[in-house]
């Protein structure tokens, strides 16, 4: 179990323990790989029935595309656009013809090449929490998103090996005016961290600004950027069966530059999708395929990630729920669909808890269970998401980093060879003995097991003397200590200067027009 070198086709899931995860500047770690065969929640026939149902949705009902340009592109490609309306219908041949063009895996580049990640295949990527309107920690409580918290999330996540990619703004820095928010926010993300980033599709110009900033931060030319995916966007459909204007702008701008589109219908069964899981999945699939078609028509072969986010609502209150049994099953089927289309698969580490308690943990681990066993390649909201996305939590970010470390360790193969089977150690120790002092143990104990950052394994008496801290207390202490050890990653001065100049120029130009 300790040395995976014996199984060359499998790669280490990552390094061990608290020391490596918290001490000094975090080094890039090997990405976890999906060790286990994904679990199939529906049969091959049932999967085809879901696929067929979504083709019928696209053909018979259609999707509203709230963007004349997108409709024109699709019409040219052979889709049926109803004159005077947003409705686009796709015959199945058109849809099928666009499947198989996007890559099964691609590299997402960071400004620090050691932070590049592979998206797809049997690789897993863990992204930070994204898009929360509020931030929270135990000391300061829950508050509106602001730039100070925003920056601290980047500092914290930069130090955590388990955060591979920024999934978006961990929290919305609402104290920056919307017209220039993306400029400051992306500047912070590219300077405080050297990991790959996301950009929001909130109108064409923001996508273009983000792409240019990433190019400047990497210090590459346009041709290189067009070859190398360097910033991704998440596209959510406005379920049911509608894709809004800025999202369609995002697909068009990103696909044209060969930058990844992570298409994620937000299909809450019983609200924006049918109450039946099969129906919600058919709708999810129809919306995802609609996004795939546009992406591939705009730019054949542009990287595209199939996102699944089907969950259910509390039918008494309408409140969204996550990490539920229904969510888990949908996560498994989402993976089956993505693999059917040979696309990387996006899932999430979600929960609906208001505080970092047992519920936050069980809903999260149920989500991870669905994602890992579903063959998730790209896990959004992997660290720090709370309250169904309504707040980002500093404590949850480090607690999740620990959970992700455990998942990575779970994905490291058990080594089975003579050394590890340890017959000699059993012979040495013999019946009734103990292994603490055995040579076999002494040679391995330092790195034998994952060393958690949060779990408190002290005995009850010692724990009581220490004031009975719970995991929330431990996470509170841990996040502050990791944050205190933050060091800004080095950046090429020329790149930084170019980035700074760009931001200043675009601010002088007024940024982006807003409605307010």
């Amino acid at each position: 179990m300790t040395e995976p070198s014996a199984t060359p086709t499998r790669q280490r899931g990552g390094r061990r323990g608290a020391r490596q995860q918290t001490g000094g500047e975090a080094a890039p770690k090997a990405q976890p790989r999906l060790l286990y065969k994904p679990v199939e929640a529906v049969s091959a026939d049932e999967l085809e029935a879901i696929h067929a149902a979504s083709l019928r949705v696209l053909e018979e009902i259609g999707i509203d595309f709230l963007h004349a340009g997108a409709r024109q592109i699709l019409k040219t490609a052979g889709a049926e656009v109803t004159p005077g309306s947003n409705r686009v219908r796709f015959d199945r041949a058109l849809v099928e013809s666009q499947i198989g063009k996007a890559p099964e895996r691609f590299t997402l580049h960071a400004r620090n090449p050691a932070r590049n990640v592979i998206v797809g295949g049997d690789y897993m990527v863990f992204c930070s929490v994204a898009s929360a309107p509020n931030a929270a920690d135990r000391d300061g409580g829950r508050r509106s998103g602001n730039r100070a918290d925003y920056q601290n999330f980047f500092r914290l996540g930069q130090m955590l090996d388990a955060v591979h990619v920024w999934g978006g703004y961990p929290v919305e820095p609402v104290d920056i005016h919307a017209s220039i928010r993306h400029l400051d926010a992306i500047y912070d993300s590219l300077t405080l961290s050297d990991k790959p980033i996301h950009c929001y599709s909130l109108g064409r110009q923001r996508n273009l600004d983000a792409i240019e900033m990433v190019r400047l931060a990497r210090g590459i030319d346009d041709a290189t950027l067009d070859r190398e995916p360097s910033v991704f966007t998440v596209i959510n459909s406005s379920s049911p069966l509608r894709i809004d204007t800025p999202m369609l702008e995002g697909i068009i701008q990103m696909a044209r530059r060969n930058q990844p589109v992570v298409m994620t219908p937000f299909t809450l069964a019983g609200a924006m999708a049918p109450v039946s899981l099969a129906g919600a999945l058919a709708q999810q699939n129809a919306e995802a395929l609609a996004g795939l078609v546009l992406t591939q028509v705009v730019s054949p072969g542009a990287p595209f990630v199939y996102g699944g986010f089907t969950s259910n609502v509390d039918m008494k209150s309408g409140a969204p729920a996550f990490g539920t049994p229904e969510y888990m099953k949908a996560a498994l089927v989402g993976g089956q669909l993505a693999r059917r289309y040979k696309l990387p698969y996006r899932s999430s580490n979600a929960n609906a808890a208001n505080t970092v308690d047992a519920q936050a943990a069980y809903e999260s681990v149920f989500s991870l269970w669905g994602a890992v066993m579903g063959g998730c390649n790209f896990m959004m909201h992997a660290a720090g998401w709370m309250e169904g996305g309504l707040h980002a939590s500093f404590e949850k970010m480090v607690l999740d980093a620990d959970l992700l470390g455990m998942v990575a360790e779970f994905l490291r193969p058990i080594v089975v060879n003579d050394d590890e089977l340890a017959l000699d150690a059993m012979r040495e120790v013999g019946p009734g003995g103990h292994f603490f002092g055995a040579g076999h143990t002494m040679a391995r104990y330092r790195n034998a097991f994952y060393a958690p950052m949060i779990s408190d394994w002290r005995n009850y008496e010692t724990w009581t003397e220490a004031g009975r801290p719970d995991a929330y207390d431990a996470a509170n202490r841990l996040y502050k200590s990791v944050l205190a050890g933050y060091r800004e990653p080095p950046m090429d001065p020329t790149a930084r200067e170019a980035l700074t100049e760009f931001v200043e120029r675009r601010k002088r130009e007024g940024g982006v027009a807003t409605d307010f």
Copy 2:
């Protein structure tokens, strides 16, 4: 998803929601079935290497059997017993010859036939916490086991559908003298509850008393009891490679009466087993096979459950750890081994947390993940276990019941048919609409989703107004309300009288001699 009747080979995982689980007297529920193909953590070749290593352990090192009668039985069967010692060595032919005799599945009978459970095949059984020396709840704190708490655990678990079987004493009632404790304790378990029970192997007479009490409670004759497994025992080896006297007595007495033996080596890697996972599993397997051989030699075909409880210790402190990545991987391989021998597989819902916090939840759900994906048939400590088994928690029992309800729902198949694919509902609602009021939703919403007992999905403001209860608070309130609704299950008066008379007679006889 709502009506599994469309998939007749799969059975409903159980009924839904808080109402059924807490209101009135809990009715027996359908057992969950293992819907998904178990996950394989090692290859077929690696599995054979582990099997081969354990055969070498049994052949070359041997096992200490601290019971002359057991050694004699094994010697007669062809094992090599070293004269003047406890050591027994088994050649591989002897071991292999005993594999395949025990049943792949059997029914464990309750005094109420509606509570019978199937052990093995694709069925899952959830057992209560067992053998904790301490009890705890938030109000009363942690205290030594006592009969009042003992009885309340039986009352609580009787009301929870997710508790199918009593895994042992939820907490040790140490205020009953050891000489008669088993009589009072078993009497309580057979009268306060009508679910199947366990008996401890703590000397021949206790096993015999327990078997007789179960026979009386069921009101059956000896021949029926010998046909119908009605009380099970857990046999732990004293790892490494030793089985103690009372455990061997237990195997002999239980096997002779065709009562199930759940053989569970407690192989903590780095302490009682090699620090390498493959080695710990080889040792677990050797010890389990040693128990299997004795059981089957005593009584060919006697029910036997393969138990896996390999975990790791904290190498800094030696403290045992549960629900770790290593534990999960061991749980997967344990299932592979059990299936290789066509035996039902026992795993656990374990954690090492001192309080009902995020750690308790994530370690538990990681344990459930390993168990469910490992193909566990018989889950010990499924509800109420805390602190590595050092205390049983009332709050954790209801929280676990909720987690088990979620697991059961996760194991219910997704129904894929035209009704569930909901094309008509999508057509009715159309792009940009919502499904809340759709006919398809209205017809299904009541039972569409699992309704959790603990999860708090209220919005942050409402939750804040309610005093910001966490899951521990919710579990505290819930367990008291379930307990308050307890009703003793009916019992045949003749059976109760016979049971009472037996206990009184055995008490007059002094119970069982003790050392103190």
